[in-house]
């Protein structure tokens, strides 16, 4: 066997005990996190622990195909209409890795984040920078998830495509945020009127 000279770019620390210990701790952390022990989360700060969360992929079955949508309150019509959020979240705009879907997935129950998202969408729409399916000023938004049933195996499968919100029955929609009505009235200049 021909053990040979080190290459020109070999690192002085290579093979050191410290690196070996670090590597072993990293691998142990990945395993302990992935198996659901919760040990790394208990003993590490959140940032390093975050980098260990790489292994527990798809452990559960999907109970429905979930899609997140938004409606906007159109001031002129005093009605809710679907607003296309994709122009304001252009990264991976057509799949669930879109940042709008992700903020819904992680933070839909976090009021502070939902308020920030509300303000962001209203501001972006009113700036008129993109075509989002709504003309005129909007006073607020409401966010919902679509929970589309998974067909049984053997049934005729339909290609997954994005359909307008109106194509889905009410019982597949779950609302979890809407702009407070006081803020709607203020933004639309409807002081004293019912904006629901």
């Amino acid at each position: 066997m021909s053990a040979v000279a080190r290459p020109p770019s070999s690192w002085p620390f290579r093979g050191s005990a410290a690196l070996r210990v670090l590597a072993a701790l990293y691998l142990a952390g990945v395993w302990l996190d992935g198996t659901g022990t919760g040990i790394p989360a208990r003993i590490l700060p959140r940032a390093p622990n975050y980098f260990l969360q790489v292994a527990a992929l798809f452990p559960r079955s999907a109970v429905a195909s979930i899609d997140y949508r938004a409606e906007a309150f159109v001031c002129r019509e005093r009605a809710w209409r679907e607003i296309d959020t994709r122009p304001y979240f252009p990264i991976d705009r057509d799949d669930k890795e879109n940042r709008f879907d992700r903020v819904m997935h992680f933070f839909r129950e976090n009021r502070k984040t939902m308020n920030a998202l509300d303000a962001y969408l209203v501001e972006r729409h009113d700036a008129g920078e993109a075509e989002d399916g709504i003309q005129g000023r909007i006073g607020g938004v409401r966010f919902l998830s679509l929970r589309i049933p998974i067909p049984p195996p053997g049934s005729r499968l339909e290609r997954t495509v994005r359909r307008p919100l109106s194509a889905y029955p009410d019982d597949e929609r779950t609302f979890f945020y809407h702009t407070p009505s006081s803020r709607l009235r203020e933004r639309c200049g409807l002081a004293g009127e019912d904006a629901r």
């Binding site: 021909s2 290459p7 590597a23 691998l27 959140r46 622990n49 980098f51 452990p59 992700r102």
Partner: protein
Amino acid sequence: MVDSWLDQPVSTLRIEVARICAPLAVLGFMSSRLQHADEWIGNGGFRVPDLDGDWRQPIFVPALDSWAAWLVAAVLVVSGIACVLGIKTRWAAFVFAACLAFVALSDRLAAYTVSKLSPAVMLAVAFGGAGSRWSVDAYLDRKRRGGEEPSRARQPSGAVRFLQLLPVVMYSASGIAKVRGDWLHDPLVLWSHIHDSYQTLVSFALGSVLPSWAWTALQACVLAFEVLAPLWFGFSRTRTAAFVFGVGMHVMIGLMFGPVRWLALLMITLLVSGYLPDGILEWRGRASKVAPSLLE
């Protein structure tokens, strides 16, 4: 025993495979983000506010100014490409790893497994002395030596051992997570995941023709592979079969779950880097004579 395994010489091409292919997979994953750097890590898009220690936010990183966001994106691309080409390899890998760690922390929303895994892989490349072969660095070194090529076919590499262990640790943990989840009592877990926006033409076609028992059989194969991965990859007699199964599994994942293709490519890179039989890896015959097995 562990020390002797760690110090056993391995083909230096293994770290070069990781050096070349891992940044390509990572840059592929990042490409959709890089096109919108201003929205991604800059102040041009939506930012989750500072949530004061909320568990879903590992750390709050304020949005960068637009010019800084584009600068980070440029450094990330240049360092990744430099690593692929083997130009100042060690430092390129360090800078690439640092950029990857920053963007993973900066935007939780666009961060996935590739985002969190890739800094560790690139640190292994940096510490592993990559760039000694198939690289601009190696070419310049050869020129400096007047055309004489130093013998670099095999040497001990803790980095390669790390890259060999990483997918096995991930499979094992993932398998146990699946056992603790739904995979043992719901026979249609795989079937349930092909109906959303990850769906591709391949998953649609397979979903249309495969009977339900086939989905259950595939699920059982994946679970057995993952839970028992330390055994499959630990024993020399099953190692090559495990390598082939693992690559095949990731090819199918990449074909069936659109955006997951970059993670599939990264995992295939780890498998090829760590477990491609020496005889194939050293196809020019440099080291194949002395490589009966990777881990023995």
